[in-house]
């Protein structure tokens, strides 16, 4: 088995987003190199149609290679995941895009202009970096889906350049799936796709953390946590990226089994952008043997939160931030899981630090909310022990 197959087998499920980003880089690299090799051999004979296809293929392929590698590095933690912002970054990106377009146009008009072709390819590699650099780790679901789409479209363009239908079809399929997922993800954040790519969430002026939390945050212990679960009939668990970071999915499964044994119904509420890639939470929970009938989508579970006895939020923040309902909030209009309507909410979190949006979460200060400050895995295992001792 080659090394890549080994990666596929050995990758822990928590590393799926990185692995996916890496595979987009591989696919796009293949498309870009085929395009460059094709031009190298046929520089004087490429037809107009082939030149247009080659330009698309090489530009999309190249920017996807570096963009995906950077996304990989961010998800892996090699590069800091926070959005890197500098003044005029959008202007730099736009100028770069314009230069690439001009070079592509030049090359299409004059296939003998090798400098235009190679310049275009080189700048496209650079463009991939400037495109992904300002995007934060929490927006990665959209970016990964978008890069998936680019890789597919680059493959499709290869098909046009080589007059190969299989390539066109497979690429179009890949491009369509990536684009659909990207649109779904950005809808789930109530932000237009372009806003995710070019905009960033502005720091909030609405309310400071001190105002929101002042004296209202109550913390709890594993023992009290377990007591609250003692008589719960319906429990909903909301997993977030924190669960993935802490590799807590197996501990969560233990909690699920312990509660089901006591006769409670346990469900998992999955927000579309929870985690770092589309479907991230589902895969983690499935790895931990949680039946997929218990993973409920946001729109289905939201109307039923009134009948939930205890909602347990594990390592999620922005997807349950009730601030999204306020019109002056930076995340205004983002659909959230209505956990605050449950009778009792327990938030498992390491600290009060804000989520990606950088805004305080009124849920943490709500009357029916208790904070359980712990690492997700260790903290949940403590609770499981207490529940079993009840």
């Amino acid at each position: 088995m080659d090394c890549r197959g080994w990666i596929a087998i050995a990758t822990p499920m928590t590393h799926m987003p990185q692995r996916t980003a890496l595979s987009h880089a591989f696919g796009a690299l293949a498309a870009a190199l085929v395009g460059i090799a094709h031009y190298y051999d046929h520089a004087t004979t490429v037809t107009l149609v082939e030149r247009v296809a080659l330009a698309l293929e090489v530009v999309l392929g190249s920017l996807t290679v570096t963009g995906s590698l950077l996304a990989f590095a961010k998800l892996q933690g090699w590069v800091h995941g926070t959005p890197v912002a500098y003044p005029g970054q959008n202007a730099v990106s736009l100028v770069l895009a314009a230069v690439i377009l001009v070079l592509a146009g030049w090359f299409i008009a004059d296939p003998a202009a090798t400098w235009a072709f190679y310049g275009m390819a080189a700048l496209a590699f650079l463009f991939g970096i400037t495109l992904v650099m300002p995007i934060g780790a929490a927006d990665m679901p959209v970016v990964i889906a978008l890069l998936n789409s680019y890789a597919g479209l680059a493959g499709s363009a290869t098909g046009f350049a080589l007059d190969n239908n299989i390539l066109i079809i497979a690429g179009a399929l890949d491009g369509a799936s990536g684009l659909i997922l990207a649109v779904l993800m950005s809808k789930a954040m109530n932000r237009p796709l372009l806003n995710v790519v070019f905009g960033r969430i502005e720091a909030s002026t609405a309310a400071s953390a001190d105002d929101v939390y002042a004296g209202k945050v109550r913390s709890t212990t594993a023992e009290e946590f377990a007591l609250l679960l003692e008589d719960a009939r319906r429990v909903v668990i909301v997993p977030g990226y924190g669960m993935a970071v802490s590799q807590a999915q197996h501990a969560v499964r233990d909690l699920y089994l312990a509660l089901e044994k006591r006769g409670a119904t346990v469900e998992f509420a999955i927000h579309p952008v929870a985690g770092r890639m589309p479907g991230h939470m589902n895969v983690l929970l499935a790895e931990a043997d949680i039946p997929y009938e218990r993973m409920i989508e946001m729109d289905t579970i939201n109307p039923t939160f009134e009948t939930v006895d205890v909602a347990i939020v594990i390592g999620a923040n922005d997807v349950v931030n009730s601030n999204a309902r306020a019109s002056d909030s930076p995340i205004a209009g983002m659909p959230i899981l209505d956990v605050d309507k449950a009778r009792m909410v327990i938030v498992v979190k390491r600290s009060m630090s804000p989520g990606f949006a950088g805004i305080p979460n009124p849920l943490f200060a709500a009357e029916n909310t208790l904070m359980y400050f712990a690492d997700a895995q260790a903290g949940i295992l403590d609770v499981v022990r207490e529940v079993k001792a009840l």
Binding site: M1, D2, C3, R4, I7, A8, I9, M13, M16, R19, T20, S23, F26, G27, L29, A30, L33, V34, I36, A37, Y40, T47, V49, I144, N148, A151, G152, S156, G159, F160, L162, D163, N164, N165, I166, L167, I168, I169, A170, G171, A172, L173, D174, G175, A176, G178, I180, L181, P272, M277, G279, H280, N282, V283, A286, D289, I290, P291, Y292, E297
Partner: protein, 97 residues
């Protein structure tokens, strides 16, 4: 590519995009991760086929680039399908119980 071929190719592309849209729209969010690794692997398979076409009688630099591309695409195909299979098995075993 002749202009007639271009129209054919565009036609194929549009049909594939329409089919792709309808197929993928019906995939539940639950399966979005394996969906992504699967489509990625499928598109990489096609690259291998294309390289067989381009590989013939190429110059040395083009062959080297092509070889790297083949390696990247093959790892993608193998890795993509293996991981898709692994994820789908995780979802499947629950149904069997």
């Amino acid at each position: 590519m002749e202009s007639l071929n271009l129209i054919d190719s565009l036609f194929v592309f549009m049909l594939a995009a329409v089919v792709g849209y309808h197929v993928i729209h019906k995939v539940p969010p639950l399966l979005h991760t394996p969906l992504m690794s699967a489509t990625n692997a499928i598109s990489a398979i096609a690259v291998v086929g294309a390289l067989l076409v381009t590989g013939a009688n190429g110059s040395k630099p083009a062959t080297i680039l092509g070889a790297i591309a083949v390696a990247a695409a093959v790892t993608n195909v193998v890795g993509g399908f293996l991981i898709t299979d692994r994820i789908l098995k995780m979802f499947n075993k629950k149904k069997a119980k």
